[in-house]
Amino acid sequence: MKWLSDSKVTHLRAIAAEPDFSATKYTFIKELARGGMGTVYLAEDTELNRQVAIKVLSTPELTEDMRRRMIREARIIARLEHPGIVPVHDVGVLPDGRVFYAMKFVRGVRLDEYAANNESIKDRLRKFQSVCDAVAFAHAHGVIHRDLKPQNIMIGSFGEVLVLDWGVAKIVHQAVSSEADTLMLPRQDHNEVSDTAHGTVIGTRQYMSPEQARGEIDQLDERADIYSLGAVLHFLLTNQAPKDARPRAVNPAVTKPAEAVCLKAMAQERSQRYASAAELSADVGRLLDAEPVAAYKENAYEKVSRWVGKNRFLVLLVLAYLLMRIFFIFSSRG
């Protein structure tokens, strides 16, 4: 009898763990990431000759609820056609019965990795604004993400921002868009969704709204995502996930208006938060343009300082003019 070496056994185990894509148009390349519910693989679409990311249920003990969740996740993403949301190309079932869906393979870095290599607060705020816009789009179509965090946001090779992992997303209401061909979410979807039971805590604790942390699933609406966006902004301003400290206590370089925007988004009482992601995005835009933000009331000194900071070159020109005038006055007297 011939024994297999350890390396061969390990190799065979790895092959056995690979999903069987033989009945599909995809060929396995490698594993990309492993999550609680699914594993994401890199695969080749043999018909279109392009690489795709395929999410496959990782649990061998399949339940009907898990299958429905995966299909529901794929449907939610497929309906959110937006440059900031990863498009789903295909959904199907593997020979072993596991559900999978294929989506665009995003080449880039996660937002936390991007922040680690990019010191510019302005650049970070611009990326954050794109995240807000993608989330605002999802909200407009009745979908809340419920697990927004830097690890679920990708920055593509060309600077594009993509919100990932809609695995715990929730449909809260029908789309309000009047366009006939837009992404209307049929009511039956809400029924077919196996909604998370009241009292269940889902998401990531540090980026989770207080109502979500209390497990008040029925109470969750867009403002739960607004809180998470505020927590992401806190991370971008301080390089730390939010704890109890205000952003300026962690990083004194954070301006008061930026801190106010962050704290308004992260208000404990959800009625005190921004009413929509679009409102938050607009305030971040005002921060970038050195305009007064809705979250912070400036005093006269701060108004003047902001104006001078924004119009530095003009102020320098006028000062140069006045200095030259003073010089001429004194030189004519001399």
Binding site: N311, L314, F328, S332
Partner: protein
């Protein structure tokens, strides 16, 4: 606010300040009123020209260059009429043109495009 209007306002204010500084030159103090009026008109003319230029051409370097040339030219004409004080008149006039050229490029409502 339109770019020509910004040019007029800024040109008038800086022109008036320019004229008022003549008070510090005792030899011309008795002509202060005329100098202020003349300088303000010069500022307004420069502001209109630079403002309309900014409305037509959206380029900061070109706007500044045009402002400098217009400011210097008008100030030179004034100095020519005064028969002296070339440096004291042309240099501030040039700087005023530079400021107005910069401001009209940077601020104010741009001209409407065909698509808007």
């Amino acid at each position: 606010m339109s770019k020509p209007l910004i040019g007029v306002i800024l040109g008038a204010i800086l022109g008036a300040i320019d004229g008022l500084t003549a008070w510090f030159t005792p030899e011309v103090r008795d002509q202060l009123g005329g100098i202020v009026v003349g300088s303000t008109i010069k500022g307004i003319v420069a502001g209109i020209a630079i403002g309309f230029f900014a409305k037509k051409f959206h380029s900061l370097p070109l706007g500044i260059l045009f402002g400098v040339l217009v400011g210097a030219f008008l100030a030179f004409l004034i100095a020519l009429m005064q028969g002296g004080y070339y440096l004291e008149i042309v240099l501030p006039g040039t700087l005023v043109g530079l400021i107005v050229g910069f401001a009209t490029q940077k601020y104010g409502k741009p001209a409407a495009t065909a698509n808007s």
